[in-house]
């Protein structure tokens, strides 16, 4: 059945992503709605925008119905909501405009610069660390997969563990790594590398294996060396798979980095900011929310960057499109 390989592949991708703490849905989602290129992209983006707006409306509407009393001095608007739910109070769910305003205010009492610039600093740091881990992990993954595809013994020896690790919450090891290797960047890079190389290894291995056996036979009939087969047939065939894994890995490396910086015990970055602002929750919950918004933005941008690279690299090939 035509469907089957696609289906089990999507399952594997999701499991791999799951083990790295990423709730990936991209592979599955891409086939849920079929339509042509640009109109689909436009629909996706506009759908997303509509969803955000809707979310904002629901947010404030909920607070209007069951939050803390509204007291907007500047336009003289006062409102007492008919119900009261604790989670919708100003402390737990600040008004969207308060969160936005917080970006402009000093990130700490007597601090020299604003929350916005502080968060951007931390975001760049986090992204930088994640990126290093991402690149390292991807390289290791590609190398390992290339070795495995050529050595049956090594593959049979190690791949079961790689596969089994998909069911294990690897990310939980982050604090131990940080303690073991010091609280600086190196530990966090290790975490990000680790989380990246799993999905990449599995996906690239599958990709390297994917070419039609007859194409390989053709190469052999030209007395091509294994290296030539690898370069000319296997590697190009593995690119779509690689990119699928890279999209998962992008998110996973960000998640790993944030957890390493946060509860893991790192010193800088968005994870640390989350912990700090969590401790200071009473004095300013908006800052924690702002940090989360920025963290989401970083993840999204990183994902989109990989997606863009994917489009550019795969554009000419006429391969089946995936994702947004």
């Amino acid at each position: 059945m035509e469907d089957e390989p696609g289906r089990s592949q999507a399952l594997e991708e999701q499991q791999v992503a799951a083990s790295t703490g990423v709730a990936t849905t991209e592979a599955a989602a891409s086939s849920a709605v079929k339509s042509r290129g640009w109109s689909r992209r436009v629909r996706r983006v506009s759908g997303f925008v509509v969803a955000l707006l809707l979310g904002a409306v629901v947010w404030e509407a909920a607070k209007w119905l069951a939050g803390d009393p509204w007291r907007i001095q500047s336009i003289g608007y006062f409102h007492n909501p008919p119900f009261r739910i604790l989670q919708l109070s100003d402390r737990h769910l600040p008004h969207l405009w308060d969160i936005t305003a917080a970006f402009g205010q000093p990130f700490q009492r007597n601090a020299a610069y604003s929350l916005g610039s502080y968060l951007i600093d931390q975001a760049l740091y986090t992204w930088g660390v994640a990126l290093v881990g991402f690149v390292a992990g991807a390289s290791i993954g590609i190398a390992l997969a290339s070795i495995f595809v050529h050595s049956g013994f090594l593959e049979r020896g190690f791949v079961p563990y790689v596969v089994a690790s998909q069911t294990v919450p690897i990310v939980a090891v982050a604090p131990l790594i940080v303690t073991g290797f010091g609280r600086g960047e190196q530990s966090i890079v290790i975490i990000a590398t680790y989380l990246t190389f799993f999905p990449v290894t599995i996906a690239v291995l599958r990709g390297l294996r994917s070419p039609d056996p007859r194409a390989i036979e053709l190469m052999r009939s030209y007395a091509a060396s294994r290296w030539a087969v690898y370069r000319k047939v296997r590697l190009p065939a593995s690119l779509p798979y690689l990119f699928t894994a890279l999209k998962i890995a992008a998110a996973a490396s960000i998640v790993g980095t944030i957890i390493g910086e946060g509860p893991g015990g790192g010193l800088r970055g968005l994870g640390r900011a989350i912990l700090n602002f969590n401790q200071q929750y009473i004095t300013g919950p908006e800052r924690l929310w702002a940090t989360i918004v920025v963290a989401s933005g970083v993840g999204l941008l990183f994902f989109l960057a990989v997606r863009l690279a994917e489009i550019m690299v795969l554009r000419r090939r006429g391969t089946r499109e995936e994702g947004a």
Binding site: A23, A164, T167, V168, P175, L300
Partner: protein, 268 residues
């Protein structure tokens, strides 16, 4: 070949096949354990104790670990249940109404790029840091999105020929739903459920890392770490991993029973 030699050859063939499959990973496993055990000094030794030490710590603290594992397991499974139910609800709605789908699907895709886990502290604040519900909600949130996407896909990705067949029988939408879409969706559902077990444990553990009672695995790990008892910390992680694998295996077994036709097609 004589009648006696044939079965023997076949048995030998099977043995060779099993050896080929299971021996390498076994060798790797043993090799890694041995190497780890033998690795001497170095700064890491303290933080990465030998397997024997980890095992000892586990044995010495069985009761505590068991309680902690139960608590974390409870949070994870609770979150799995909540996320799955909510996901099913939204999936059926989004399969039914295209406008809902246009809004929800992009959000679900975006969710895979966003570090949802960052919201853990907020959930702790909302539901109480000592309340298991906060960890359940974290797990539920992670489980929710893959469930929505997979089930929606399963409901919609039906062979057009099957729909034509049902039309030729003048079957109504409810019949199509009951007899075609829902059975078609089941493999996708189990996919999402398996993925969800792993995610739910991550949600529970990381939620605990951000704060929780001292009776849960996440706190056990962090606290033993900060008091220098690394063997115990690793034991905690090991037990957590086993719990996650057990949950995954349980779902796999249910899947095999529920989908006898499908698992034989699977090359899992």
């Amino acid at each position: 070949m004589t009648a006696v030699a044939l079965p023997r050859a076949r048995v030998a063939g099977r043995l060779a096949e099993s050896a080929r499959r299971y021996l390498p990973p076994l060798i790797v496993f043993v090799g890694v354990i041995v190497a780890w055990e033998l690795a001497t000094s170095g700064p890491g030794r303290r933080v990465f104790p030998p397997p024997s030490a980890i095992l000892n710590a586990a044995i010495d603290n069985t009761d505590m670990l068991r309680r902690a594992t139960q608590a974390t397991f409870f949070e994870a499974i609770g979150g799995l249940a909540i996320g799955t139910s909510a996901g099913l609800l939204v999936a059926f709605s989004s399969a039914r109404w295209a406008s809902a789908r246009d809004i929800l699907l992009p959000v679900a895709i975006a969710s895979s790029a966003i570090p949802i886990i960052a919201i853990a502290p907020i959930l702790n604040n909302w539901f109480g840091v000592l309340n298991p519900l906060s960890k359940m909600m974290m797990a539920a949130l992670l489980v929710f999105f893959p469930m929505v996407v997979n089930v929606t896909r399963g409901l919609l990705e039906v062979k057009p020929a099957s729909l034509e067949l049902m039309r030729s029988y003048a079957a109504g939408e409810i019949d199509v739903l009951r007899k075609v879409r829902i059975p078609n969706m089941l493999p996708f559902f189990f996919t999402a459920l398996k993925v969800g077990t792993t995610l739910s444990f991550i949600g529970a553990l990381v939620g605990e890392y951000f704060g929780g009672t001292s009776d849960v695995l996440g706190r056990v790990v962090l606290q033993s770490m900060s008091s220098g008892r690394f063997s115990l910390a690793w034991a905690g992680i090991l037990v957590g991993a086993i719990a996650a694998i057990a949950a995954y295996a349980a779902v796999s077994i249910v899947e095999r029973v529920a989908l006898p036709w499908h698992s034989s097609l699977h090359s899992d």
